[in-house]
Amino acid sequence: MSRGQIRGKWALAGLGALAAIAILATLRLAAREVVTIESAEFDPGRSGWIEGTWREGWSRRPVWLRRRLSASPLRPWVTFDFSRVRGGEPVGSLVLASDAALLQYHAASRTEGLAHGDLLPNRLAKIGGGEVADDFRLALVFEPSLPGRAAATTFTELAGGDAARLIALAEVLGAWEVLASNRLPISDGQRARLPFFVPRERQDLKILATTSIEVFLPVPLTRRVVTEPGLREALYRRLFRVAEQVPDLAASVERIAGSTALRALDLDVSEVRPRLETTAAAIGGYLRSVWVECLIAVVGADEAEIALTVYSVVPVVLEGFEAPLPAEGARVEAALGLQLRQETAEVAAVVKQGRLRFATDVRFDPVPHDTVHFATARLDFVLAGLERFGEVPWELLDALEPRLTNLITGEPVPAEHITGFVSERDSRYGRAAAEGVEAFANALVRRLVRAGPGNSPRLDRRTRRLIVTAGSYRVVEDLILPPGYGLVLEAGVELRIHPGRSILVRGPLAVLGEPQRPVSVRGTSGEEPWGTLAVQGRGVSIPGVESPRPRVEMRHVVIEGGAGDYLGGVEYTGQLSVHHADLTLEWATLTGARASDALSVRHGRVVIRDTRFADNAADGADLDHSEGSIRRSLFAGGQRGDALELSGSDVSIEDSIFHRAGRRCLNATEGATVRLRGSLLRGCSVGITSRDGARVEVRESVFHTNTRAFAATRGNQVFGGGLIQAEDLILIDTGPEDRLDDLSKIEVEKMIRVGAAAVSTVLEPLETTDGFSTQRYRALRQALRHVSE
């Protein structure tokens, strides 16, 4: 048998043994998972130093020791050595690189049957490559070993369920100074095959070495510890006692260093003992550390909420709150009327030793987050009866302190571990606004200043409406209604809004003008514009609650002189802006807007009838991603705008007039679908533009004195070209040149072009020709009648 064959057989035998060990370990682990741990096993009396050995009764793995060695190479290296270092010089390999020399990272990963992103198998349970910053897991290329010994065996042996020994071992491991370097020199042949970016000289890697002890309990035990406070308490008590055993722990360091497993490492443990004392003290201190945060917030005028949060791993008892007695007799009497409530319990204030006290016996059991290292508990209390003071007794609240006791040590929680503050005093408003209490109503009404005699605006709490009755009002500050609250402007209301101020309604809006008593919304200054009257339908989202889209019903209203505003992360580009709501606008006039749009609707449904948009600076109306219908309305745009802009919307328009826009009478973009009938488009640069996937059907309409009738183009590659399908049109004094690109299309059927002089005679020939007979072209004749209006 050749040497190679013998080596192979040994390797096979080794693999078999490893597999057997792995199977046994798995079975053992599985068995451990279902072990029921009796509460008796938490009896601290069963743990302790007996004949020089710490006896544990509760798990073979109660405390987890982690020694992480992490290296962050900048690029693929050949392989790596971890070495122990003394005086800056390597004194022996701690973990040797595998034989996977020259393999790059990915190839090496494959040899291990692992891919990038895996956690390390951590075979060397207590020493191994940890998680490094960039996920480059070096340990994948290592076959860890100790000189002459199998490392996994060595450290498993050491890492048994002996908490005391683990603490000591942590310090022993921490005493190692470790170096990692690439495994050079290598042969010339190997070197030649290296990629150009692999270092060819010896280089050291930065090593991050950390040692930590974590209380990682087996799952069944942890579950019970979480759910059964008594068990947790017993566990803490015992850990606490472990930490108290510093001299014994220190003594065990020598024993560990001299153990069979570590003797080969030739450890110098002289520095370990002082560090061990620090560690033990830290553990003990940890169990003593209880941090408490006390937040007191006044809500309304008669109650304070107290939120007490405990950061601790140990249970704590709140014995009560106390504060110095208020100075004056009447205030002392008032203070004695205070009551502390916690769920069903209620405690009255008493005076004891010159201090005001509330006696409780409330236990805090902090709930661990990840491990039992990090645990918090929070309880809320209400301090009722503040109204007895006539005003909020801030000095009393500022001085109110909790008294707490650590249940493990039995010591009071020191005052310096309690942080507390009384929350911002204006938080009253925030809470009140959310709940719609009187303070909120007053706050809203204050923003609406009545200019003359009459009723003040009132908040109807049942319907959640702020109702403004007939009269003149000034809006002196932004009037922003809370989500769900509506605004009603009754007939005869005149709102005068200060420059730059706006109204934002996050609920329904009803503007109930009448022909003889319209509602008007204007600015207070002729020169400086106000902002916007806006409705936001997505005021607040409540999970699981499908909020109805707010309805906006406006009739007989004049809105003038707004410039738009930016509120709550939203730009409202219209002097009237409606987002995510259903708008019905009738007999309205929107004029003199200094905003981008006199009306802006986004994601809305609209019905517009008998409404006039005139003398506005830019667009008359802008409907984005909306749907609806328009009838008998007049749209005029400014020199810089369109009469009507429709972006991504689906709208039917009938019997309307578009005129005098510096740009387009009707501008459809971004996939809009528009059906236009019986309308007049007059005096614009372009009658209809269809861009970027928009589709416009126009029938029985009249184009009058536009520079050109149509433009169909694509400006944005995301969309396709524009489409215009026109039928039965009369073009009066409108230029013949349409604008069209290769991706767009204009289809026209039955179109008559006439000069301006022929306008008065257009109707008659239409009614006599076959193509334009009476019934069918009622809409067209209506459009023609608009020409003379």
Partner: protein, 416 residues
């Protein structure tokens, strides 16, 4: 009564239809991936290689160091001029044999896309990210469309890539959204690398006052907003800062009262459900994997899933005491604050997660199908085979662990 011959004929039709269906799906599985070709001239290619060598030494690709080179992209007989750069801040994207790229189409859009990423597939956990887009679609969340492609550079095959669309204005428009800011947060990166990253200064709109954001690292505002209105973009940044400040420093009462004004809470709950479904903690924080779209018409932020990682829930479950409730408690303080302040969010998450889990076997089969196709197309890739097997197994194990939520989630959904 139909004749026997007619019955037979019907049988044959059924059989043929079945064959067509089975054969069709089989053909789809065997169909080659889309083939992309990149042509890079020698000079820019050399510059790119030098650049890669340089970032090796930095071990990080800082934003200020990015190198764009001209190239030509070819697909299906069409040629597109592009600008190209190495993408990915961390070395995983550029230190191995394959490199992740970002392509920007300079002249005309490619299938409506302005920018795409070609990402090394293991960074996206192979089929997991693709499956994530389908889950996101089912949940009604916005997502960045993805697919697997084969890439060749200068006629040399460089392997399998995961392509996904980069957040751009064009992407927003194509998916029916208005152009607006998408935000990413990067506090943890600064902490880690000790260098500035996407640093932004901002003020509260209309004041000289800086918001009280002591814990805020950086906010990255992607240029997906309407560039015609830079003032609004600036204000949106301030708005994002306000939102961050509320969640990071506000009391639970404040969060309860105001978080719903900023955040689409249903979207948030579904986003968390998606992450929990995959056991992913990678994007469950306000960090560099956050893609937070600001709906400019409502002022609501929406999460867009990005970089979902499949992670084993078992270990985490053990560490957390073996309870599902503890397992699914958000780690991130800000996420947790929303959960604590607004109980309805947790219920919404549970309901959405329950819905996903009831379809768990369908999703698992879908993941297997994606992986099987990749393996079939790349039988030589041992790593692909091993990794996809591992990921598929992990996904199923996670589903088993989460199974009790399917019933409780259904109950919650019913109550809602």
């Amino acid at each position: 009564m139909p004749s026997r011959s007619r019955v037979l004929a019907i049988d044959w039709v059924v059989v043929l239809l079945l064959l067509l269906i089975v054969g069709g799906s089989r053909a789809a599985e065997l169909a080659p991936l889309l083939a992309y070709r990149l042509r890079i001239e020698p000079e820019p290619l050399r510059a790119l290689q030098d650049f890669r060598d340089r970032i090796y030494d930095m071990n990080f690709l800082p934003p200020g160091e990015r190198l764009w080179i001209p190239a030509r992209f070819e697909h299906a007989g069409e040629r597109y001029p592009v600008r190209l750069r190495i993408r990915g801040d961390l070395p995983i994207h550029w230190r191995g044999e394959q490199i992740s790229y970002r392509l920007k189409f300079t002249d005309r859009l490619f299938q409506g896309r302005k920018e795409i990423n070609l990402i090394i597939p293991w960074d996206k956990h192979y089929g997991v990210e693709l499956l994530q887009t389908r889950v996101a679609d089912d949940l009604g969340l916005a997502y960045f469309p993805g697919r697997f492609v084969s890439l060749a550079i200068n006629d040399q095959d460089v392997g399998l890539y995961y392509e996904n669309e980069h957040p751009t204005r064009e992407y927003l428009q194509r998916t029916g959204r208005e152009p607006s800011s998408i935000f990413t947060f990067a506090a943890n990166w600064t902490f880690y690398f000790g260098q500035r990253y996407h640093t932004v200064w901002f003020e509260k709109p209309g004041t000289r006052e800086r918001p009280p954001i002591s814990s805020l690292g950086q906010i990255k505002q992607r240029r997906t907003f309407d560039r015609r209105n830079p003032e609004i973009a600036r204000r949106q940044l301030g708005y994002a800062a306000e939102f961050y400040a509320l969640l990071s420093e506000g009391s639970l009462e404040e969060i309860a009262a105001r978080a719903g004004l900023y955040l689409d809470l249903e979207n948030f709950a579904r986003y968390v459900a998606l992450q929990d479904f995959f056991g992913s903690k990678h994007s469950l924080a306000f960090g560099d994997n956050t893609r937070l779209y600001l709906d400019p018409s409502s002022g609501k932020f929406e999460f867009m899933p990005w970089d979902t990682r499949l992670m084993s829930l078992r270990e985490r479950w053990e560490e957390r005491g073996g309870t599902l409730a503890a397992l699914l408690e958000p780690d991130d303080d800000m996420f947790r604050a929303v959960f604590e302040a607004i109980p309805g969010v947790r219920a919404a998450r549970d309901a959405a997660l329950g819905e996903l889990l009831r379809e768990g076997s369908v999703y698992a089969a879908e993941l297997d199908r994606i992986h099987a196709r990749l393996v079939r197309l790349h039988p030589e890739d041992e790593r692909l085979r091993a990794e996809t097997k591992r990921l598929g197994g992990m996904f199923r194990k996670n589903l088993e662990l989460l199974a009790p939520y399917a019933a409780s989630g259904a109950e919650i959904a019913r109550k809602r």
